[in-house]
């Protein structure tokens, strides 16, 4: 079977590729011998092979040259050489999209597909269907129907598969062949069976009943082909999911019975289908898990891989179901296929105990460099989950992560590691210094701007509070010298935080700032100038306002605003305050629109990123459109919606409370769930318990069935008694009912008044306070000062744990927990909670609450604010 190649090819040595230096033009030139008579099958075959080889290498053929070669090739149909003929079919398929007028060969192919030579028939059908369009398909429909039920398997399979390809293009024609496909499905040949099933499903997939009937038939009669079984399992599990049938359905029984099939392929497909089903219980999973366990010790790598990959998925949701396989998974750790080993280890990390962590980590590190990025990310995620589960193991993890950080890898991989390290630092104060050191090392040689800025921000936040902050300065200043603008700007911000917090470092920081003021980038220069001016004042309050807790202001206002600050900063503090009243603007109101996108990761890493208007902005706009509410000033706070009715009642009403400086607006969103009623003039009458005064009602004119509408009430807050922050309103829905036709919605002319009692609505202290995040609470505490500080001690008898107490306080006061103090460390008897907020009217409020656990919780609350009344209000409401 050794071919005679051109002399040149033979000379080029045995190891070379005879096709290597093929020239497209030379090959096309050679193709002229197709026209020679008599046909030399061997030479022609070789030239066709070259053409297909070139196409396969991705060589581009122009339409003209392709058409020319194609037409020359059609002449080769005269030869009876089998291989040559088959290569002609291949050429037709390869050139179908490149050459013009390929339909010229239709009749030759039709002849071959209906001829006596079985070897030609299958491939001829496939080539023919490749060049046929819908109209032509009708012409050969008769032959296709015959071919589908042909007794020669290759012919039948070819016809079925080609029909499947044609379904996309000519669904209506192929649909008519269902009966033939049905007949083919009962063929003895396993591939014919598989292809027939596939075609039948594609034709019927939109008809759930037909699919279910088909499933029923085949699951009963049983099939020979393992491929067909896999297909059946997929169809069954899809149907189960769509119909949300319970796991007692016969379809589930069928899938489960496939776990005992003699083909591994089928068993695996069934196990995988069960594992992927939503809401599977551990008991239903058990048989699937036990076959996967058997596969773990298979000699076939693909089977082991498939099994452990599926077990890994089970472990995410049901770790306990996989623990039985731990021993088998242990054996896979040393598997020569690294993908299998990685999956085995990450699965074990999810299911194993704390004691095995060290050993597993050692195992992974031995081959982490050999696996692909996809798996590395999987490993990092597993570690991240593990750190949360076993916080005591952080030193092992940190070590491991730092090694991974040094290795090569893509952005996704590096980001996963950095995120993981940051979360460890935040969870475990002991690991802070090692973690920061690793990150410093990483940014020395980091090509990803986003990661560098993120780390610099973290350094600025955490670095100054470590025992030896000076060692980080070098790393940060190196960034200023070496990196791109975004990183330089972030580095300047970080430097400022060191200068503001560490007096002994301040002189050196100022020198460094001076250098930054000569930077070539505007943003860097502006930041440096701004911080320089603030730092030179050496006033704690200024530092706190503009360096630690000014994150919102740094990025939000335009540069002009900052320039203004620089000018005025030499004046007294009060004046600066006025210029920059932005700092007391609550968190959610901060406009984020002008932010430079490249700095977004620095500034908003703590904020939820909200491009566009916030929920409150939308409400503000809506309220401003109502004439009665003009002149109330800007909206201070909008609460979450409160339901005033049960979920399934005739009318559904929920209330949103909007707080203004001296007023409150209650927005009632009402929905009418009765389709035979139209409500008009809908309003909610409110009876206050305290000195609150209802000024206006704005009714909703019409409330048709299922279209929500809003009515409003305007309430004035008592001015003579500012401490009356809480109040209870009893509410009644009042409206005019008109009966209407449920179908047309046409109302009767007459109506009658009616009312509907709603649940009471409460206004609490939380409605008067807006959350503000102070990244550096201690600095904010000093800034507000102790002028109006009050302290009181309470006993919370009904509360049993510190967690519960913390949760209660936060939700009661509606303030923002700072410094992650909302998380109570385990096994501690005391805790300090820091809360920050802004009271209605723009006064900062800070609360420090010390909690001690002993027979209930004892709480010592210290409140500071810029206004004495506010302090009193808070303490009064807590008590």
């Amino acid at each position: 079977m050794i071919k005679k190649f051109d002399k040149k090819d033979e000379e080029s040595g045995s190891g070379s590729n005879p096709f290597q230096h093929l020239e497209k033009s030379a090959v096309l030139q050679e193709a002229r011998i197709f026209n020679e008579t008599p046909i030399n099958p061997r030479r022609c075959l070789h030239i066709l092979t070259k053409i297909i080889y070139l196409l396969n290498q991705g060589e581009h053929f122009g339409t003209m040259e392709a058409t020319e070669a194609f037409f020359a090739m059609t002449r080769l149909f005269q030869s009876n050489d089998q291989t040559l003929r088959r290569m002609c079919y291949l050429t037709i398929k390869e050139m179908a999209n490149i050459s013009e007028d390929v339909i010229i060969v239709t009749s030759s192919l039709t002849k071959d597909m209906t001829g006596k030579e079985d070897v030609y028939r299958g491939p001829a059908i496939r080539a023919l269907c490749r060049i046929t369009d819908t109209t032509m398909l009708q012409a050969i429909e008769r032959y296709m129907k015959q071919a589908i039920v042909d007794k020669v398997p290759s012919v039948s399979s070819s016809a079925l598969v080609s029909s499947l390809h044609m379904v996309k293009m000519s669904y209506d024609v192929v649909k008519r062949w269902v009966n033939e496909a049905q007949e083919a499905a009962s063929s003895d040949n396993i591939m014919v069976q598989y292809h027939a099933l596939g075609l039948l499903y594609h034709l019927r997939k939109n008809d759930r009943l037909a699919v279910s009937k088909m499933l029923n038939k085949f699951t009963k009669s049983g099939l020979k082909s393992p491929f067909a079984y896999c297909m059946l399992i997929r169809i069954a599990s899809k149907l189960l999911e769509e119909t949300e049938a319970g796991h007692d359905s016969p379809l589930f029984d069928f899938i489960e019975s496939c776990l005992r099939n003699k083909h591994e392929m089928v068993v695996y497909e069934a196990a995988s289908a069960i594992v992927h089903m939503p809401n599977c219980t551990a008991r239903e999973l058990a048989p699937a898990v036990s076959v996967l366990q058997l596969f773990c010790s298979s000699p076939k790598a693909a089977l082991r891989y498939a099994a452990v990959r599926t077990l890994n998925k089970v472990a995410m949701k049901h770790p306990s179901a996989v623990t039985a396989c731990n021993l088998d998974l242990e054996n896979l750790i040393t598997d020569s296929n690294r993908s299998i080993a990685t999956l085995a280890i990450t699965t074990l990390l999810k299911t194993g105990s704390e004691s095995s962590v060290d050993r597993l980590m050692k195992q992974i590190s031995s081959f982490v460099s050999e696996i692909s990025d996809e798996f590395k990310v999987v490993v990092v995620q597993a570690i991240s989950a593990l750190c949360q589960k076993y916080p005591r193991k952080h030193s092992v993890m940190m070590n491991f992560l730092s090694n991974m950080l040094r290795d090569d890898g893509g952005f996704e991989y590096k980001r996963a590691i950095v995120d993981c390290i940051i979360s460890i630092i935040e969870e475990n104060p002991e690991s802070k210094e090692t973690g920061l050191a690793h990150l410093c090392e990483f940014i020395e040689d980091c090509e990803h701007t986003v990661l560098a800025t993120k780390i610099l921000h973290l350094l600025g936040k955490e670095g100054p509070r470590t025992p030896s902050p000076s060692k980080y300065i070098r790393f940060i200043f190196n960034r200023v010298v070496l990196e791109s603008e975004a990183v330089r700007a972030a580095a300047v911000s970080a430097l400022a935080k060191f200068g503001a917090q560490n007096d002994d470092l301040l002189p050196s920081v100022l020198v460094l700032m001076q250098r930054c003021m000569m930077d070539s980038d505007d943003e860097v220069r502006d930041r440096a100038t701004f911080y320089m001016n603030v730092l030179q004042q050496k006033q704690k309050a200024l530092n706190a306002a503009y360096i630690f807790n000014g994150e919102n202001t740094h990025c939000a206002p335009s540069l002009n605003l900052r320039a203004l600050v620089c000018v005025d900063i030499s004046g007294p503090i009060q004046e600066v305050r006025l210029c920059l009243s932005v700092s007391s603007v609550p968190l959610a109101n901060t406009p984020i629109t002008e932010q430079k996108t490249e700095f977004a990761p620095v500034a908003t890493s703590k904020l939820p990123e909200k491009p566009g208007p916030t929920r409150q902005d939308i409400y503000q706009e809506q309220l401003a459109a109502i004439p009665e509410f003009q002149g109330l000033g800007s909206l201070f706070k909008t609460s979450e919606a409160v339901q005033l009715t049960e979920a399934e009642t005739e009318y559904v009403v929920r209330c949103v409370k909007h707080t203004f400086a001296r007023h409150m607006v209650f927005q009632f969103d009402c929905t009418n769930t009765l389709n035979d009623q139209l409500l008009q003039k809908v309003m909610v009458q409110m009876e206050p318990s305290e000195a609150y005064e209802v000024l206006h009602y704005v009714p909703a004119a019409n409330l048709p069935y299922s279209q929500p509408g809003s009515c409003y009430s305007l309430v004035r807050l008592p001015e003579d008694d500012p401490t009356a922050v809480s109040c209870t309103f009893s509410c009644t829905l009042k409206y005019l009912v008109k009966d209407c036709d449920p179908n047309t919605g046409e109302p009767d002319d007459d109506g009658y008044d009616d009312e509907y009692v709603l649940e009471d609505l409460e206004v609490t202290v939380a409605d008067h306070i807006q959350k503000v995040l102070k990244p550096n609470f201690a600095a904010a505490w000093d800034e507000v000062g102790g002028d109006f500080e009050k302290e009181e001690t309470f006993a919370l008898a009904s509360v049993r744990t510190l967690d519960e107490a913390v949760g209660n306080i936060i939700s009661f006061l509606g303030m923002q927990p700072c410094e992650r103090s909302d998380k109570v460390p385990e096994n501690k008897n005391s805790h300090i909670l820091f809360l920050a907020g802004v009271f209605r009217g723009g006064h900062d409020v800070l609360v420090r609450s010390r909690l001690a656990l002993a027979d209930g919780v004892t709480m010592q609350v210290t409140v500071r604010s810029s206004d004495e009344t506010v302090v009193d209000i808070i303490l009064a409401s807590v008590g």
Partner: protein, 196 residues
């Protein structure tokens, strides 16, 4: 756990590749639009090769795709499918391809022998996978269908009528080709209809 159940489908194989021991493409067939351009395909092949040529393990997950592979002397065979695909099905395709070639090349599965039988390879892959659907998984059947035999039918065995018809058709085709005329094409099609 992703609960994305894939649409049950016969389209199983995304690509079949054969590379040599320098990672050069000897054969590549992509069945869907995952890698539409030649440039993307070559980049993918480079990535695959760099990740697999050193290790002798059969399966890997790359760029979100499941890759099953097998190497022999200086050849690397790959079958690629979706990461949700049944790995054993892909393995069945790979084994069928390898065993078919092994028989066709008389157990001499290496680069030189393969290059000398490229048409055999082309035909075999065509019999195993058609447009992404597994057409046949039994190597015996594949070898039988590829049937590399009867190459040497001498020209003299063609009958005189065949030769005469050949000449006639040739003249028709050339007329058609130069004129590019629709009427001629109809004439040709009717002439060529399978009455013999």
């Amino acid at each position: 756990m992703d609960t994305v159940t894939l649409e049950p489908s016969l389209y199983t194989v995304k690509a079949v590749l054969i590379l040599d021991n320098d990672g050069e493409r000897l054969y590549a067939k992509y069945y869907d639009g995952t890698y539409p351009s030649v440039k993307e395909q070559k980049a993918f092949e480079k990535n695959i090769f760099s990740k697999t040529h050193r290790t002798d393990s059969e399966i890997a997950l790359l760029e979100g795709l499941t890759v099953v592979y097998k190497s022999n002397i200086d050849l690397f065979f790959y079958v690629i499918g979706s990461s949700h695909e049944n790995e054993l099905m892909l393995m069945a395709v790979l084994n069928c391809l390898f065993d078919s070639l092994s028989q066709m090349l008389r157990k001499n599965v290496e680069r030189r022998a393969l290059l000398e039988n490229m048409e055999g390879l082309f035909l075999a892959v065509d019999e195993i996978v058609d447009g992404g659907v597994i057409l046949e998984s039994d190597p015996q059947q594949v070898v039988h269908r590829v049937a590399l035999r009867g190459e040497d039918v001498p020209y003299s065995e063609q009958t005189v009528t065949q030769v005469r018809k050949t000449a006639l058709i040739t003249s028709f085709i050339s007329t058609y080709y130069t004129a590019q005329c629709g009427i001629c094409s109809i004439a040709l099609l009717t002439f060529h209809s399978p009455e013999t």
